[in-house]
Symmetry: C2
Amino acid sequence: MPLIDKHKCFGGWQLRHTHTSTKCQSEMTFSVYLPPQAESEEVPVVYWLSGLTCNDQNFVNKAGAQRAASQLGLALVAPDTSPRGEDVPDRDQFDLGQGASFYVNATQDPWETHYQMYDYIVQDLPGVVASEYQQSMDFDREAIAGHSMGGHGALVIGLGEPQRYCAVSAFSPVCAPTQVPWGQQAFPLYLGDDQTTWAEYDACELIRTAPDVAELPPIRVEQGLDDNFLEEQLRPDLLEQVANDTGADVQINRRAGYDHSYFFIASFIDEQLTFLRGEIDRSTEA
Amino acid sequence: MPLIDKHKCFGGWQLRHTHTSTKCQSEMTFSVYLPPQAESEEVPVVYWLSGLTCNDQNFVNKAGAQRAASQLGLALVAPDTSPRGEDVPDRDQFDLGQGASFYVNATQDPWETHYQMYDYIVQDLPGVVASEYQQSMDFDREAIAGHSMGGHGALVIGLGEPQRYCAVSAFSPVCAPTQVPWGQQAFPLYLGDDQTTWAEYDACELIRTAPDVAELPPIRVEQGLDDNFLEEQLRPDLLEQVANDTGADVQINRRAGYDHSYFFIASFIDEQLTFLRGEIDRSTEA
C-alpha cells in the first residue's frame, strides 16, 4: 500500500496512503496520525469523517487534533469523503457525488457501483489500516467522529454498529437528513424513492427505532450557534428531541458565536478527543 | 479597511483584512488573531512572517497557534509574503517575485516600486493594524516570528530594529542568505550587485556587525533535522557560529525527525509563543 506523505508531528507521525478499495471499486486515499505511544503499545483508534467538499486533508491540516492525540495516545484515521476518479459518477454540484457521499451504501444507478461508503468505513478501511498498522493500533478500542456531512456519517455509523464504536463525537452534524434539503436531495438518488431505506441513514430515526437505547454509544455534539447551516440543514433540536423522548445518551454543546468552520472544530477538538478517550477506557474496563 | 473573513476561535476572533499599502503601492491582505483577553485589555502583538509560496493563510490554518495565543493573551498578525496583483512584477518560479519577497526593500528595477516589504512589516502594517485595533493591542509590546524565508524575515527585522521587538522566534530560517542559493539568486535582482547592501538582510552579518550584541533581542530557532533545505539553504550552523563568536543570545533547538512542514511548526509553536510572551513580559518589566 503506497505511502504518499509522512511528517513527524508532536512526537508521532502524520501519514497518508492510497489503496484500492474493494467496496468502492476505486483508488482511495486516507491519512493516519500515529501518536508516540504507538511505538511501544497498541493505541485506540478514532475515525474522523469530513464534510461536503472535503477530503482526508482538511482535518489533518486544520483541526490541530494531533496535539491532543499525542497526549491522549489516540491514533486518528481520516478517510476521504467519497470515491474519486474519472470512472466514478459525479455531479457538477458540491452536495452530490464526489466529495458528497453522505456515507451511504448506494443502491441506485449510477451510484451503486462505487458509492459504498458505509461499508468502506466499517469494513474496508479498518482492514487496510490494520494490514499496515496492526502492531500499532488496537481495533477493539474504536470511536468515531466527524463534521457536518461527516458528523452525520459518524452518528449513523456509530448508531448502526452499536457494539463496535465506544463513543461518537459529532461537530455540526446533519442530525436528521430525511427531514432536510441535503438529505432529501441525495437520498432519492443514492437510495431510491422508498423512504424506509432512508431511515437507516438518519440518526434520529436510528435512535427512535433502536431496540434498546442503553446499548447505543454515548454521543456528544458540538454546535456553533452562528453556523449558517444550523436551522435549515443540521437540526440538532430534532436529535435532542428524540434523545429526550427515548433516554438516549446525547449531549449537545451549543457554542455562542462559533460558525461551521475548522476554526470551530479546532477550538473544541481537545475536549471531544478527551471525551472519546474516556469512553474508550470506560467501555474497555466495563 | 474591508474585513473579508471572521471566525470565532478559541474564545477570540480570527480576522482577515485587505488594505492599500502605501509602501508597496498594492492591495495587501493580512490576518489577525485577537485572543479573548483583547476584549478587556491591550494585549501584546506577535507578527508571523510566512515562507516561500505562502500567503497569510498558511499560518492561520495550519499552525494551530490560536490555542496557545488564547491562553497566553497574544494577538497574532500574519501578513502576506509579498505584494500581489497584475501590476506587481513577478517571475514564473516559486523563489522569486510574488510570494518570495525575502522581506527586503528592493532598490532595483522592476522590483523597487512594490517590493518594500521590510518597511511594510515595520511601518505600514502596524499602522493599519493599529487603525483598526488600537484599543485591543499594545504596540509597545511586540515580538516577531516566522518560518523559512519568513524566519529570515523575522531575524533580519528583529535584528534591524533592536529597540522595537522584544524577541525573535524563527522556524527553519534562512540564516545566512548571502551565502546560500536562495539569497544569491534574489539579492542581486532586488538589491543590485553591491554585496554590501545585501548584508543588511543577512542575520549572520547583522549580528557580526552589531555595535553591541547585548542590545539585540533574544533569538530562538527551531530546526528540524530531516528538513530538505537544511544544509543548502538554511545553515543554522553559520548562525550558531556567529552567536558563539559574538556572545549574541541565540538558541537553536534541533529536532530529530522533523521536516520543513507546518506539522513541524505546529509541534513547537506553543513552546515558541510561550518564549515570546515571557520575553515580552521581561523586557516590559525591565
